[in-house]
């Protein structure tokens, strides 16, 4: 009789319901696929954490969460794991927080390939390391075939906002300059192409990236920055509208200033879409007071994520909550929030 533990216990190629049942199969999946990579502190189901920044006078905790459900799970420029880390890190950093810890919770569809999970986890680890955060706690659930779309990931993030920082949408003032860090709509266009529903192919990569270093650089150069928001679902148009509403200001952007890849432009023309509403996963809009806008742009351009940073508009005194665009033709139009998702138009 030999009771020694076998070296690798997870030999299944695909996840079955057995991996969600709370027994050894689940323990083996969690250990070999998740915690061996994330290496969370301790064995408890809760992470126990301390950090000197938290106890500094005037510091605030920042806490945010997002679920990620992207299809396909892997796409040009990233995968659901990369987005899940970058997205939550970005939700922390756009508020001026330094990201410290993430939780990661996985809802896995029966039949999901274990190798896919390993790739997702590896890319989460890479992004977490880049952002300087630690994935400290997590969970996995397995649902029946057809009750999820391969895998959904929910991350929550805890960060610390140093004393004296107050980035918030309602801080935006007339005269401020709206700045984006790069081209718009890449993620939305990349996913549209990758999904294949419209049978369009294009060499477009998602912009999926963490924005922590960019924000810190911008804040150092332009400490007066009022607010930042990552322009995810609903695109830049929605981010601008939210800020205009929260600050009670009008915002006017300039169509000729909008940075767009030709392929994204082409896809929008074919499908009748407006790139202002296409999703981004590593693009933000940031508001700087007029005298610090150039410094902010210069500092952003010195970072990887900000090479194409550019001012796209200014804050005015128009009707509160109204976003308008000076069209490339010199006309003007309202850029409202969409009702639902943008649907391809034909007629």
């Amino acid at each position: 009789m030999n009771m020694a533990k076998p070296i690798t216990r997870l030999r299944d190629e695909r996840v079955t319901l057995a991996h969600g049942g709370g027994g050894k199969a689940m323990r083996d999946l969690i250990t070999e696929v998740f915690t061996d990579v994330f290496a969370p502190p301790g064995d408890e189901d809760q992470a126990r954490l301390t950090h000197p920044a938290i106890t500094e006078p005037g510091a605030q905790l920042a806490f945010t969460t997002d679920s990620f459900v992207v299809t396909p799970v892997e796409f040009p420029g990233g995968d659901i794991g990369k987005i899940a880390v970058c997205g939550t890190v970005n939700d922390l950093v756009v508020g001026g927080a330094r990201p410290l810890w993430l939780s990661a919770s996985f809802i896995i569809e029966e039949g999901c390939e274990v190798a896919l999970l390993r790739r997702i986890v590896a890319s989460m680890k890479v992004e977490a390391d880049k952002a300087g955060v630690q994935i400290v706690t997590g969970d996995t659930k397995v649902v029946g075939k057809g009750s999820a779309d391969k895998v959904f990931v929910t991350t929550s993030g805890v960060g610390v906002i140093p004393a004296g920082r107050h980035l918030a949408a309602d801080q935006v003032r007339p005269g401020d300059v709206a700045i984006v860090n790069g081209v718009l709509g890449d993620h939305g266009a990349a996913i549209l192409a990758a999904r294949g529903d419209m049978a369009l192919s294009a060499d477009i990569q998602s912009d999926c990236q963490g924005l922590g270093h960019l924000i810190e650089a911008a804040l150092k150069a332009a400490p007066g920055i009022r607010a930042a928001r990552d322009a995810t679902r609903g695109g830049v148009a929605s981010a601008l509208n939210e800020i205009a509403d929260a600050a009670g200001v009008a915002i006017e952007i300039d169509e000729t200033a909008l940075p767009l890849r030709p392929e994204v432009r082409g896809m929008c023309e074919i499908l009748g879409l407006d790139p202002l509403y296409l999703a981004n996963e590593g693009t933000l809009v940031l508001f700087a007071p007029p005298d610090q806008a150039d410094a902010a742009i210069a500092a952003m351009r010195a970072t990887d994520a900000g090479r194409d940073a550019v001012a796209i508009g200014t804050v005015g005194k128009g009707r509160a909550g109204l976003v308008t665009m000076r069209t490339l033709f010199g006309g003007s139009r309202v850029v409202d929030m969409l009702v639902g998702e943008q649907l391809p138009r034909i007629c």
């Binding site: 128009g318 009707r319 033709f329 649907l343 034909i346 007629c347």
Partner: protein
């Protein structure tokens, strides 16, 4: 983008706008006594608001937004029939995205999808054809919607299905044609129209001669126009010049795309597959003679009306009551502006459209609402 960017050049616009201003002056059109130009096509309505052309052109020009949005003029009863088809368990219902949010009496296709109907948005009827090939045990129905621009694509798809012997592909035909409603509008004694901007992509299929009656019988100028802002402005200028000169002609601003006689392959395909219905209901306009197409008996196997026993009963029997207080008909005939509708912005918003014109972004009401034709960017007092 070739053939696009050149026609969006803001510098070239200065000249056209100046010429428009001058001709408007020469005509003597003013805000109080404007010249009424109808852009028939929803694509033109969209472009006007997207580029803010309404604010760049003189106040003496009043755009009347015509019935050229196939989604907006789709009768509610047909949406209900789409929902019924889509809710059949064997059916994969395929549609352009435009039609997803149009309210029927029970629900929209978007809501039917949420309730479990298998509805897929496609870019092309060819994609529906491919779905039929890949799902031999399902019935793939394509929602054939649109004017003459789109009709050839469904006609050719039906011919392709016939050539391949596909037995699970049908088209729910709601194709309509442009000339009949124009005639109906011109016959309306309440209508005030001084000229037309004609639909460029419809015309690339049918040519420009189907509009001869407008000039000949009604004495109105019409200029077939492209969709880039310079195209539109140039066409407006050409209409104004005709008015100033007392001419009534069919002119072609969009000759790079539109052959005067249209596209013979497209015309042949339409004629082979479709025939005119005696009449068809237009939302807001009512029944219009010979304004809709149906699939010829020869292709009955590809006709969802036949296969699923739906037929078309005509507005008298089938049409359902439009919602209370909806002024879509008046807006569509140019009698009132969207903002004059008592429902605009309250009972009727893009979130909860009451009338069809608020649904499609080509609908006049939606364009007004979304692009701010109705809402001043100046601070509200």
């Amino acid at each position: 983008m070739k053939y696009v960017e050149e026609f969006r050049d803001p510098k070239a616009a200065k000249g056209v706008l100046a010429a428009i201003a001058q001709v408007t002056n020469e005509i003597g059109a003013t805000r109080e006594k404007p010249v009424h130009i109808m852009e028939i096509c929803g694509g033109h309505t969209h472009a006007i608001f997207r580029y803010g052309l309404d604010k760049l052109t003189p106040e003496g020009i009043e755009f009347i937004h015509g019935p050229g949005c196939p989604v907006c003029v789709l009768p509610m009863s047909r949406v209900d029939e789409c929902v019924e088809l889509a809710e059949r368990p064997e059916v994969i219902f395929t549609t352009f995205g435009d039609a997803m949010r149009v309210p029927g009496t029970r629900k929209s296709l978007m809501q039917a999808k949420a309730d479990g109907a298998d509805i897929r948005m496609v870019y092309s009827p060819l994609d529906a054809l491919e779905l039929a090939r890949r799902n031999p045990d399902r019935e793939v129905v394509f929602f054939g919607l649109g004017f003459e621009t789109t009709t050839p694509s469904t006609a050719l798809s039906i011919q392709q299905a016939a050539a391949e012997g596909l037995t699970n592909f049908t088209v729910f035909c709601n194709h309509i044609t442009v000339p009949p409603p124009i005639k109906a509008l011109l016959d309306d004694p309440h209508m005030v129209l001084d000229g037309f901007v004609g639909p460029g992509h419809v015309s690339m299929v049918i040519g420009i001669h189907p509009y001869d009656f407008i000039a000949r019988d009604y004495g109105k100028p019409i200029v077939v126009a492209g969709f880039e802002p310079l195209d539109l402005l140039q066409s407006v200028l050409m209409v104004l010049e005709q008015i100033r000169d007392g001419r009534a002609e069919v002119e072609n601003q969009y000759a790079r795309i539109v052959p005067d006689n249209g596209n013979p392959v497209s015309i042949a395909a339409i004629d082979e597959v479709y025939e005119a219905r005696p009449s068809f209901e237009w939302r807001g306009l009512g029944e219009i003679d010979a304004s809709g197409l149906r699939i010829r008996p020869k292709y009955a196997a590809f006709d969802a009306e036949e296969k699923f026993g739906i037929g078309y009963g005509g507005g008298q029997i089938r049409s359902v009551q439009e919602p209370d207080g909806c002024a879509c008909g008046q807006v569509m005939t140019g009698r009132i502006k969207p903002v004059a509708c008592p429902q605009f912005g309250t009972g009727c918003t893009p979130e909860m459209p009451l009338g069809a014109l608020m649904v499609s972004s080509e609908g006049a009401c939606a364009a007004y609402y979304q692009y701010g034709g109705a809402r001043s960017p100046e601070p509200a007092e």
